[in-house]
Structures are given as C-alpha cells and as structure tokens.
C-alpha cells in the first residue's frame, strides 16, 4: 500500500497548460471518477491556480501513476497533448514529503502564504463529499494539516508581510489601534497608490480624502475602486493646509517635482491636532514630502525605499524561517513513514 502524487504546479508547468486540466470543486463528478481509476483505492484532487494534483492510495504505484495522468488528460479531453514533461510523480516517502510541503506552504509561489492550507482543506472536504477518500487518506491529510499547523506555530514563516501595501498597512497598525475611524488623505493618485489602497480597503476603510488640482480626480478614484464601494471627499489643493491637521494618514503620490508637504506645514498641523500621531507615506518619485518631516515628534514618514527595504528584510527573514520549516516537515515525514511501514508489514504478515 503506497501513496502516490501526480500533478503539475507553477514550478513545472506554465499557466497555459495548468488551466487546461484544472478541476473545479463544483464538479463533484470528477472527484467521484477518481475511485473508478484502475489501481486507485482512495483519491483526492487538489486544484488551485498554482497547482493541479491528485493524491491517491494504491497497491500498484506504477499502474496508478500512469492511469492518473491519463485520467487528468482524458477527463479534460486533451488526450492528444503530451503533458509528460510538465507532470511530476511522487510515491512513498517522496509523496508524503511533497504533500506536507504543499500544505505547509513551502512549495507555494509566495512561500509562507496562508491560503494554500485552506485550499488543501477545501480539497479534502470536497473529496470526502464525493466519497473519494478512505481511511488512509483521511489519516494522511489530517497528519498534513497537523504538520502545517506545527510549521505555523513553531516558525514565523508567515508572520511578516512581504508586499509594499501590506507593510504600509502593518505600519499603520503599529501606530493606530483602529483604522476604520481614521482620516486618510491621498495627495494625488499615482499608480502605486493602488497597491496600498487595496490593503487599506481590506481593513474596512471606505472613506478617503483626496487633494488634487481638479475635482475630477474624485470620480476617477471612485471609478478605479468601483467594486469596493468607497466614498471620496475632495480637498482643493489650495486649501490643503486647512485640512491637514484632521488627517491621521497621508499618502502622497503626485508627479510634482518639489515638496508639497514641507516641514513648517507639518509642524503646524501636528500642533493643531495636539500631537496626535500622523503617519505619512510618500511613494512619489521625486519625493513630495520633505524628509525632515520624519524628525518632527509624533510624525512618522516612510518613503518607497523604506517600505521596500522592510519588504526585503521580511523576505530574508521568511527564507530563514522556511529552513526551519523544512526541518519540521522532514521530521514529520520520517515519523509517518516509519509508522506506515510498520502497519504495512503487520498487515502483510496478517494476510
């Protein structure tokens, strides 16, 4: 009795191939077909945007591997195509190792992202619904969830954000308890703004102020985020200094060649708001906020380089944590493999 994994991922196949054989979780039929494949006793399909793979329990792994890869092609009616160079096949210990790594997000495009575990659980549920699972895969996947959880709790692999937008939001949260009730001012709305706004909107912020030369910018911004239902207030550029003291977060991204927010302007604002902190993010090049603003008490100014260097630091940290995670995975693979071998010898002795 052995476990086999056949599939392709972002590492082995381009999107144009992966999209041809992806399985939808709404299509229970495909999951039900699994057990009908010759040589497959229990099966599970994991299909995400980055990978499609089938995990199965079999007595004859060579036959199962062949039949599973044929099933992938035939089910999607692309039998005429040759996928062999894109497919990976693992069996036994290797298959356990692979599955544990996938569930722990060590094989992901963005290592340490947390989505994959949910996707594996979803695949497990759907396969269970379709009655494609048996006792062995039940045990095996529960073990994989346990390993993934161990990796999450014992390493800091997913603890730090690794995109400019999420780093900016994390910094906001280090300053402010709640973001939903804060006033956020956009000065200009360059392209980079989107990456940060997306993350702010995720934190339940729906109301923004925008300072610009024309009122049209309000409509433009609302149009860009129309699927998010946001409310944008217009602040005329000339009146910026009268509004500044109300703002908790300022996000500048214009193409202006000189500083828009100067030190005296910000000093006045922070005094008017009784020293309540202001978080300034300057993602414009050339810069729009005088770097000296960072030296004012209770104002924190981060420019694009600052954010990116935090991202780099976090990536490096994540790589170190991934090494620890690999050790945990290896340890768990050895444990499980040993256990399975015992069970197999015992079962064959009984037979």
């Amino acid at each position: 009795m052995s476990i086999v994994v056949v599939g392709m991922s972002h590492k082995t196949a381009p999107l144009s191939i992966r999209e041809k054989i992806c399985f939808s979780s709404d299509d229970l039929n495909s999951f039900q077909e699994l057990r009908k494949i010759e040589g497959v006793e229990e099966g599970l399909i994991l299909s995400t945007c980055n990978r499609v793979e089938i995990c199965a329990v079999t007595k004859d792994s060579e036959q199962a591997k062949k039949n599973i890869s044929n099933f992938m092609k035939d089910y999607h009616e692309c039998g005429h195509l040759d996928f062999s160079s894109y497919l990976y096949c693992h069996e036994g210990k290797e298959a356990i190792h692979h599955t544990f790594r996938v569930a722990s997000s060590l094989d992901s495009l963005v290592v340490g992202e947390s989505q994959i575990l949910g996707q594996v659980k979803e695949a497990y549920r759907t396969s269970h619904e379709a009655q494609a699972l048996g006792p062995r895969l039940h045990r095996f996947f529960n073990r994989a969830f346990f390993v993934a959880k161990r990796v999450r709790t014992e390493t800091a692999i997913g603890s730090q954000p690794i995109s400019v937008g999420s780093v900016a939001v994390q910094l906001c949260q280090k300053i402010f308890k709640e973001l939903a009730n804060k006033n956020i001012l956009l000065i200009g709305a360059g392209e980079m703004v989107e990456t940060i706004l997306e993350h702010l909107i995720q934190k339940k912020i729906h109301s923004f102020y925008i300072a610009n030369r024309s009122e049209e910018s309000v409509l433009q911004l609302e149009a860009r985020f129309k699927h998010h239902d946001i409310l944008v207030h217009y602040v005329p550029f000339q009146e910026l200094d009268q509004w500044l003291f109300k703002m908790d977060v300022v996000l500048a991204s214009t193409s202006s060649p000189q500083f828009i927010l100067t030190r005296p302007l910000m000093e006045k604002a922070i005094g008017q708001r009784m020293q309540q902190p202001i978080f300034c993010i300057d993602i414009s090049v050339p810069r729009n906020i005088d770097p000296g603003v960072h030296d004012i008490d209770n104002i924190y100014l981060y420019n694009i380089d600052d954010l990116q260097s935090i991202v780099q630091e976090n990536i490096k940290h994540r790589e170190q944590e991934a090494l620890k995670a690999e050790q945990i995975v290896q340890e768990e693979v050895d444990k499980l493999y040993e256990k399975m071998r015992h069970r197999n010898t015992w079962q064959s002795a009984r037979a």
Binding site: I175, K177, E313, K316
Partner: protein
C-alpha cells in the same frame, strides 16, 4: 488619626501601583516609537508579538488613564495625611512627585504632551513618590524600634 494614616498608606500604595504600570506602558511606547523612527527592528519581534502588535494609540490611551487615576489616588493619599497629621519631610518628596504628575497631566491637556517626554517626566515623578514612601517606611520602622 491611625485611620487617616492607614488610608494614606493604602491610597499611596494604590497610586504607586497605577503609576508603575503607567511607567511600564511609557517604556513600551518609547520602544515602539523608537523602532518606527529608526525604521528597523520589526523583523523577529513576532516572538514577543503582543509588544509589537500593540499600537501606539492603545499604549498612549491606557497610559493616560493610568496616569489620571494614579494622580487622583495620590492626591487623596496626600489629603489623608494632611487631615491626619502635620507635614513631615517625607511629604515634601511626595508633594514634589505629585506636582510633577500634575504638570504632565496639565501639559497633556494643553498641548497633547506624550511619548518620550511623558516617560522622562514620569520617571522623575515616580522616583520622588517612591522616595517618599521609602522614607516613610524606614522612618516608621525606626520609630517603631525606638522606645
């Protein structure tokens, strides 16, 4: 008179606990603010995640409340001793400490005084209050030992 004294001791102790907690929060605020100003040190803080995850806003709010109730306790404590007995040297320290905390709260209301500066002032205030208590305790003990 003794009851005034025990009220005084109880209230002062309460005030000291509250002000000590405010001091701890002040230190946490200072650490967090320093990191934000220096733009480093965020990596690896996950080990002590509650320190890194607590926002400046929360730290500041809780610290301010503790300072207010600590100040009130201290004021009542001093009032008790003034009702009960005449002024002794140790109450001089206590008064100075009380005055420093008063200044912190006044500046806070007037200018939004916070962060690092509050930390320095409350360090001084706390030292004075503790000094007064130690003085009182040691004085009390030696008075008890002496016939």
């Amino acid at each position: 008179m003794t009851s005034f004294l025990s009220w005084h001791i109880g209230l002062s102790l309460l005030a000291e606990i509250q002000l000590a907690l405010a001091l701890v929060l002040g230190i946490l605020y200072w650490i967090q603010e320093r990191k934000l100003k220096q733009k480093t040190g965020f990596v690896g803080e996950s080990r002590l995640s509650w320190v890194g995850d607590t926002s400046l806003e929360t730290l500041d709010k809780v610290q301010y409340r503790l300072l207010v109730i600590g100040f009130v306790s201290l004021t009542l404590g001093i009032a008790m001793v003034m009702l009960g007995s005449s002024l002794k040297p140790k109450q001089g320290w206590m008064f100075l400490g009380w005055f420093v905390y008063g200044v912190i709260l006044y500046l806070r209301r007037r200018t939004g005084f916070r962060g690092r500066r509050v930390l320095w002032y409350s360090l001084i205030g706390f030292a004075l209050v503790i000094l007064a208590s130690l003085h009182g305790m040691l004085g009390g003990m030696s008075a008890g030992v002496a016939p």
